[in-house]
């Protein structure tokens, strides 16, 4: 039974590569521990137009029963997107990544949720508690007990 999660991830990787969603591409997936997924916001939202962002997925052997650890990472020429639910250290406040997780979610479906969360945003700002959160945040966003902001944004 050990290794079941790699089989599922293998399938997901095949799907991601053979049947990619618009604006979502695999940047790096060399093993079954960490994947980097690049996303672009497809409509012409002025906050994100022409930009590319990079999501980091970290998997444990409990995947998909437990949620993966997901956050944005910055890199050369790639920044953390501005959003009232995304902290400047890349942590994302989204219930799908915590209490709202279900094992039928996939890397692709999570990426698409985040993509649409960006597409629907019109506020070029960080969460109000950004400075305080980033100063004390745990390394893994999964160790944060987010109080999910309202979903109107």
């Amino acid at each position: 039974m050990i290794g079941g999660f790699t089989k599922r991830l293998g399938r997901e990787l095949n799907d991601l590569k053979s049947n990619p969603a618009v604006g979502i591409s695999v940047f790096q997936a060399d093993d079954f521990r960490i994947w980097l997924i690049d996303i672009k916001v497809m409509d012409d939202n002025p906050i994100y137009v022409g930009k590319k962002f990079r999501l980091q997925f970290r998997f444990a052997p409990t995947y998909p029963i437990e949620a993966p650890e997901v956050q944005f990472v910055a890199s050369y020429g790639i920044e953390i997107p501005m959003h009232p639910h995304i902290y400047s250290n890349g942590h994302i406040c989204l219930d799908v990544l915590g209490s709202g997780w279900s094992p039928v979610q996939t890397v692709a479906s999570v990426s698409m949720s985040i993509q649409s969360m960006l597409a629907g945003n019109d506020r070029n700002e960080r969460p109000p508690d950004d400075a305080r959160y980033v100063a004390h945040a745990p390394i893994s966003p999964k160790n944060t007990r987010f109080v999910y902001h309202d979903d109107s944004v």
């Binding site: 039974m1 969603a21 029963i65």
Partner: protein, 398 residues
């Protein structure tokens, strides 16, 4: 000790032969038979009260984390997990799969539920214990010849080319790739080792090669030694740069064309969202038309209600009027009766005074005739009253 080792090794081999159903290659797989958790064909499926299907093991693992249906998030306890309909378990058991030894060379496909039997009993590529009683290694079943006496197939044999010692069952595969094996070039007849032959074939002067411009139409084929000579006078070669440039342009235009064709489909990013939006839109339309109907009915009802009240009002008014008339009549009668009563009382007083006077006068006849006249008058009064009463009753009934 030796025997014990042999036993445990063979046990391990048997458990390895138990196929991992999630790693199999399926000949064809319906999306409906895929578990949404492990994304493989359902293994030992179960069914939930909310109508979803999972592998039993996958679902219980998910429920131990969150007691909710992984698909629709409705609350779900272990008791809400039901055995699957018989037809479903039959469908997954009868799925056609490729033998898990396909990579070793087995071409068999069979129903999934029969695969274990195939691997254990008949697959030519399943490792089985070496026939020799003293050897604890395994050989694929195809190497065992039941006609011949049992012997170990792992004895080392020297390769005829490189002299390295190789187990007997592997020697055939080794010889095909042994770097020291010699081979004669089919074109120039020179003998080379396996290690050198690859580089030689790409430069053998006697090998027959086509002109480099054969992709754009030159039909020339000849030995490599004469190729240079041909290319110096080949018109196709001279044209090649021009044609190449053209083809480059065509490819670029095609690419652009394709991306232009894709763009309209971007607006409908996901079919699901589209159909959802459409669904919501039609619901909205339905509600609006229903609302219109209801408000129309409400207006009609209001009018009907108003007419009803007016009718009733008119009738009540008429009734009140007739009551008033009746009361009027009663008042008249009362007045009349009161007057009559007073008259009567006065007359009574008068007559009593007269009788007392007459008594003193002692006129018997006068008094009796007076009495008769009086009684006639009273009876006429009673008749009048009754008539008035009747007319009043008729009024009221009106």
């Amino acid at each position: 000790m030796d025997e014990q080792q042999h036993n445990s090794a063979s046990e391990q081999a048997v458990s390895e032969r138990d196929p991992d159903l999630r790693a199999l290659k399926y000949v064809m797989l319906d999306d409906n038979l895929i578990c949404p958790i492990c994304r493989c064909a359902l293994v030992d499926p179960c069914y939930t009260k909310c109508g979803h299907t999972f592998c039993t093991l996958c679902l219980f693992k998910a429920l131990s984390q969150t007691p909710k249906c992984p698909v629709d998030r409705s609350s779900l306890s272990d008791a809400d997990v039901l055995p699957p309909p018989k037809i479903l378990s039959n469908m997954v058991n009868e799925l056609l799969v490729h033998c898990s030894n396909e990579d070793k060379g087995c071409k068999r496909t069979c129903q999934r539920s029969l695969l274990r039997h195939h691997l254990l009993e008949s697959c030519e590529y399943t490792p089985v214990p070496c026939p020799s009683a003293t050897c604890d290694q395994f050989v694929e079943r195809r190497y065992i010849d039941s006609e011949k006496p049992a012997r170990c197939l792992h004895e080392l044999i020297a390769c005829r080319a490189c002299d390295v010692k190789i187990p007997e069952i592997e020697i055939a595969t080794h010889e095909l790739v042994c770097s020291q094996r010699t081979l004669k070039c089919p074109d120039c007849a020179v003998v080379f080792t396996m290690a050198d032959i690859v580089s030689h074939t790409s430069e053998c002067a006697m090998a027959r090669v086509p002109c480099n411009a054969n992709n754009i139409g030159c039909k020339w084929v000849g030995i490599r030694a004469k190729l240079k000579n041909h290319e110096s006078e080949c018109t196709f070669i001279a044209l090649a740069p021009v044609i190449e440039k053209q083809e480059d342009r065509i490819a670029r235009l095609e690419l652009e064309n394709k991306s232009l064709r894709i763009q309209p489909s971007l607006t409908t990013t996901s079919g699901m969202v589209d159909s959802d939006a459409f669904h919501i839109f039609t619901e909205h339309e339905r509600f609006r038309s229903e609302l219109e109907k209801v408000s129309e009915q409400l207006g009609e009802l209001e009018i009907r209600h108003g007419v009803l009240i007016m009718n009733q009002n008119v009738r009540l008014k008429e009734e009140v009027q007739s009551m008033r008339n009746a009361m009027h009549g009663i008042r008249h009668q009362m007045h009349f009766l009161l007057m009559e009563h007073r008259n009567w009382a006065l007359q009574n007083l008068n007559s009593s005074m007269i009788t007392s006077a007459a008594a003193s006068l002692s006129s018997q006849t006068a008094s009796s005739s007076n009495n008769a006249q009086f009684s006639g008058e009273t009876s006429s009064i009673g008749r009048g009253t009754r008539r008035e009463n009747e007319s009043f009753r008729q009024d009221v009934r009106l």
